[in-house]
């Protein structure tokens, strides 16, 4: 069978661009390029109310994502939500007395954990716990309180 060189070249080009597209999808489009579970450490925080937080919700400092929520469980004794988050190990200098709050991105957006860095010289390590937390703000609760205040006030 005669096989032309151009045909070989075009097939090679096709396969190469196809594989390049797969890599592009993996590295540029997905989180594979920015996040890998190997080099990360886990910290825990307890919240009165974890609201709409989900596994994989972002964890950020000053708006920059540094990790993700890895599990959300209920502490049966205290009835608190125990949230574990994996933080990329390149961010290894978060002060021990940092605080964690659950915020919502935009009015209807996803909920995420924001970490406010503290002032301590000791840093959070693997299995550390963040003690200062503020829970998710639930919209209905807020509206309820607002109405109450209005009614009581004037």
């Amino acid at each position: 069978m005669q096989h032309s060189k151009t045909q070989d070249t075009l097939v090679g080009l096709f396969v190469a661009t196809g594989i390049a597209a797969l890599f592009y999808m993996a590295l540029q489009v997905s989180n594979l390029g920015t996040y890998s579970s190997n080099d990360s450490y886990t910290v825990t925080a307890r919240f009165q109310n974890s609201g709409g937080l989900k596994v994989k919700s972002p964890v950020s400092v000053a708006g920059v994502r540094i990790g993700r929520v890895s599990s959300i469980t209920l502490d049966k004794a205290s009835h608190e939500a125990v949230v574990q988050m994996r933080i990329e190990s390149q961010y290894d200098n978060l002060p021990e007395d940092s605080g964690a709050s659950i915020y919502t991105a935009g009015l209807l957006g996803e909920q995420y954990i924001s970490i406010d860095p503290g002032a301590s010289d000791d840093y959070l390590k693997d299995k550390s716990q963040i003690d200062i937390t503020s829970s998710a703000i639930v919209l209905e609760e807020m509206i309820g309180k607002f109405m109450m205040n209005k009614a009581e006030g004037k």
Partner: protein, 260 residues
């Protein structure tokens, strides 16, 4: 009433017979793949006519679909002040659904119909019989390389479609509508998961490539060897592929992303 039942029974019987033939055909074609490994030229030739010749339609369609997604997405998201999420929206739609599904439908129309017509005409002009008489198994020699080429080309074409689509969305969203470049990519990367989204999308396109190639080749091989028979078989390839791709997409989506 009786006649209705009778014709229903007949249709059922024919469908089962056809399914049986298609299954044997598939097994035969799969065992025939052994013979391709020592002869990569057979595969190269088919990768050319199946993959390379579908390249253009896939990339152009991908670009336009991505651009439309960028435009529509921007209109909806800007109402909620969430334009930064445009990247996620474009990429998620492409990676999870539009990439695998639309490229499989285009593939069925471009490569699938050509395969059916080619095999059907080979049958009608006795080329397949002729091969059998030359002691060459036509399924191993003709069908298996085409099957493998279709199966390999589909994920590559789907990835191309999605990648070009994301670029198209970027072109419209960032280039023309002024969405912030950093936010576009950062939001996308933060929300598109490699395992959940990209790998599942690839699995979908592998399944679609398998099914569309199977349908196209079997319809050609099973065609009535006349001009009319081949033309009907070609139509059946496109229709049956579309049904199978859309139906399987629902099932796969439910298994992968849904809580059903």
């Amino acid at each position: 009433m009786l006649e209705f039942l009778e014709s229903l029974g007949k249709i059922t019987r024919h469908s089962f017979a056809k399914l049986g033939r298609a299954t044997f055909f598939l097994l035969h074609a799969l065992t025939g793949m052994r013979e391709i490994l020592p002869r990569p030229n057979l595969l190269i030739k088919q990768l050319y006519s199946i993959g390379v010749l579908s390249f253009l339609i896939i990339t152009i369609s991908g670009l336009f679909v991505g651009m439309v997604l960028g435009l529509q997405g921007f209109n909806i998201l800007s109402d909620f002040g969430a334009e930064e999420s445009l990247g996620v929206m474009v990429a998620a739609s492409l990676v999870r659904e539009l990439g695998p599904v639309v490229s499989a439908l285009l593939f069925a129309g471009r490569a699938g119909s050509a395969l059916t017509a080619e095999i059907g005409l080979m049958k009608a002009t006795e080329q397949l019989s002729g091969m059998e008489m030359m002691a060459v198994d036509p399924i191993n020699r003709i069908i298996s390389p085409r099957f493998l080429a279709g199966f390999l080309s589909m994920p590559l074409l789907a990835a191309l479609f999605s990648a070009i689509g994301v670029m198209g969305g970027h072109l419209v969203g960032v280039g023309m509508l002024g969405v912030d470049d950093g936010a576009f990519w950062a939001q996308m990367q933060a929300n598109i998961d490699f395992r959940e989204d990209i790998v599942n999308g690839i699995i979908k396109s592998v399944v679609f490539g398998f099914v569309v190639s199977w349908i196209a080749l079997f319809e050609g091989y099973d065609a009535i060897p006349t001009s009319e028979g081949v033309s009907r078989a070609t139509t059946r390839t496109v229709v049956n592929s579309a049904f199978s791709v859309l139906g399987l997409d629902f099932i796969l989506t439910a298994l992968m992303f849904g809580d059903i």
